[in-house]
């Protein structure tokens, strides 16, 4: 019932989301520009690898890695955790619950609609990739580019599901936004956002294989620069996490809604 309604309403919701993104384009671009970390790391590591490669990474590898990280990060990030947290706190969630479509569909539409804008911002970075030494590192054959595309889609869904889950924790916790901070700290360390996981100590790499963070950023990046030894395994683990995290988000949400209604809101 709601599923059919949600699917039918999707095109309209996407159009509305697109219009919103365009209306708030300046804010969006400033937010995207705050993603400076890969660039700072790029400067640092290219300076380190100027004379001799640093372990298995030469200067060009670092350029390719961090530009790819910048692209994947900008394409896959969203702010749905803050949105949900705010709506629960302010009580505006009640309005959303009155609609005949599932709230997840609404959130999904809003954040899917932002992707074209994000892609537009990422375009110059892609161009830079092709004029710098990164050109010789990234994979360019169609099958592996397709794998990269699938992995970015998976990363997007995984980040989205994780953020919905964290946002929905606001049903139970007053300060769920500090959880976002904890999440981001773990993400920086274990996703390869700060440093390629290849350069991390072995045990951190092992831990990262079993956690979701790597599949949000490091996995796709490694596929693009041709460093993933087994792209199939990465994708399998990634989509398993997408399913698991999606289920977790749905369960937290279900339990939370019951509590929310119990308040009489």
């Amino acid at each position: 019932m709601t599923l059919r309604a949600s699917v039918r309403a999707m095109p309209t919701m996407l159009r509305v989301g697109m219009a919103e993104t365009i209306a708030y384009r300046a804010e969006m671009i400033v937010w995207i520009l705050t993603t400076t970390m890969p660039l700072v790391m790029l400067a640092l590591w290219t300076s380190v690898a100027r004379e001799a490669p640093f372990r298995a990474y030469a200067q060009a590898d670092f350029v390719a890695y961090y530009l790819a990280a910048l692209i994947v990060r900008n394409l896959t990030s969203n702010w749905v955790a803050w949105q949900i947290g705010e709506e629960i706190r302010m009580g505006t969630l009640s309005m959303r619950l009155l609609r005949p479509v599932h709230p997840f569909a609404g959130y999904l539409a809003t954040h899917l609609a932002a992707i074209p804008m994000r892609a537009l911002v990422v375009l110059p970075v892609v161009a830079i990739m092709f004029v710098t030494s990164a050109r010789d590192v990234i994979v360019t054959d169609a099958p592996r580019l397709a794998l990269f595309g699938v992995s970015v889609a998976g990363a997007w869904l995984l980040v989205f599901a994780t953020f919905v889950a964290i946002g929905a924790l606001a049903f139970f916790l007053e300060k769920s936004m500090s959880l976002v901070e904890v999440y981001f700290g773990l993400f920086m360390l274990l996703s390869g956002y700060m440093i390629p996981l290849d350069l991390m100590p072995g045990w951190i790499r092992d831990v990262a294989t079993w956690l979701p963070f790597r599949y949000m950023l490091g996995g796709p990046v490694e596929i693009l620069i041709g460093r993933a030894p087994d792209a199939g395994a990465v994708l399998a683990a990634q989509w398993a996490w997408v399913a698991g995290m999606g289920l977790a988000a749905a369960l937290i949400w279900r339990a939370g809604i019951r509590r929310f209604e119990a308040y009489g809101a």
Binding site: A26, E27, V30, W31, L33, T34, T35, T36, M37, V40, M41, A43, L44, S47, V48, F54, R55, K175, S178, E181, V182, G185, M188, L189, M194, I195, L199, M200, P201
Partner: protein
């Protein structure tokens, strides 16, 4: 006399902030812990880098750690004493309640800058100092008294520069109202200051020295403490910062004059 008046105002404001934050003691502990974790995270690249390599762009592990320590201190100053006030002010300009600030019988820039403090950021200052002390233990000798004095002078300059930069942003908020995310942008750029300025390519070195003077905030004070900076450069830094401070004050005064309130 005016000075004691303003010092008293400052004291009242700090006391109010401390009292407010004492109501949320659990928060105090959690935030302090979080800031320790962030500092530890920031050390990861440094450790991985120097585990494998002796020096980068002329910086060994010890000196690079001094820069990191100064970064943690400056981040504490920024997040604890500068940002909270200024974010509050942007909100007031938008809502129109900034008029009440202007009506008060004290300098508006002073009131604006001392609205709110976050006392738990003291954790950052202590961590930063701890890092610098550890760095000097690693280096093997204590800094000379003269170098220490020069370093302290440059930290003061750094705070002045940082404050002036943020005041400029707020002044801009009088013309273009939606600016709070610009402070986030500058905060993100400030992140680059955790690395010695010499590691950046030449163009960025120029930008980070003269346009967004990140070098003045961490690298130069560090070089001063390490005894790598000559007296002329120290004086040039102080002179430049003083000029910047005066300029930001002038632009603030100009901006206040063009303020027309939100309601009318």
């Amino acid at each position: 006399m005016r000075l004691t008046y303003y010092l008293r105002l400052l004291w009242v404001s700090i006391k109010t902030s401390a009292l407010t934050s004492m109501q949320y003691r659990a928060d105090f502990v959690v935030q302090g812990l979080m800031s320790l974790v962030w500092t530890a995270l920031a050390l990861v690249p440094l450790l991985i880098l120097y585990d494998h390599q002796q020096a980068v762009a002329g910086w060994d592990f010890g000196p690079a750690l001094v820069v990191m320590g100064l970064f943690v201190i400056m981040r504490g100053v920024l997040e604890g004493a500068i940002n909270p006030s200024l974010i509050a002010v942007v909100e007031r300009i938008r809502s129109g309640s900034f008029d009440y600030t202007l009506l008060k019988p004290a300098d508006a820039q002073f009131l604006v800058s001392t609205t709110k403090f976050e006392p738990w950021r003291v954790v950052d200052l202590l961590t930063g100092v701890g890092l610098i002390i550890y760095a000097f233990v690693r280096i093997g000798h204590a800094p000379g008294l003269g170098d220490l004095a020069a370093g302290a002078l440059l930290v003061a300059t750094a705070i002045a520069v940082m404050y002036s930069l943020w005041i400029l942003i707020i002044a801009a908020a009088f013309w273009v109202v939606r600016l709070d995310n610009l402070t986030f942008l500058l905060g993100a750029i400030f992140d680059a200051a955790r690395w010695p300025i010499q590691i950046f390519p030449a163009v960025w070195r120029l930008i980070f020295t003269f346009v967004i003077p990140l070098a003045l905030m961490t690298s130069y004070p560090a070089m001063a403490v390490l005894g790598r900076l000559d007296a002329t450069t120290v004086l040039a830094c102080v002179g430049g910062a003083a000029g910047f401070f005066v300029l930001s004050r002038a632009i603030w005064t100009l901006a206040i004059r063009s303020y027309t309130s939100a309601s009318s």
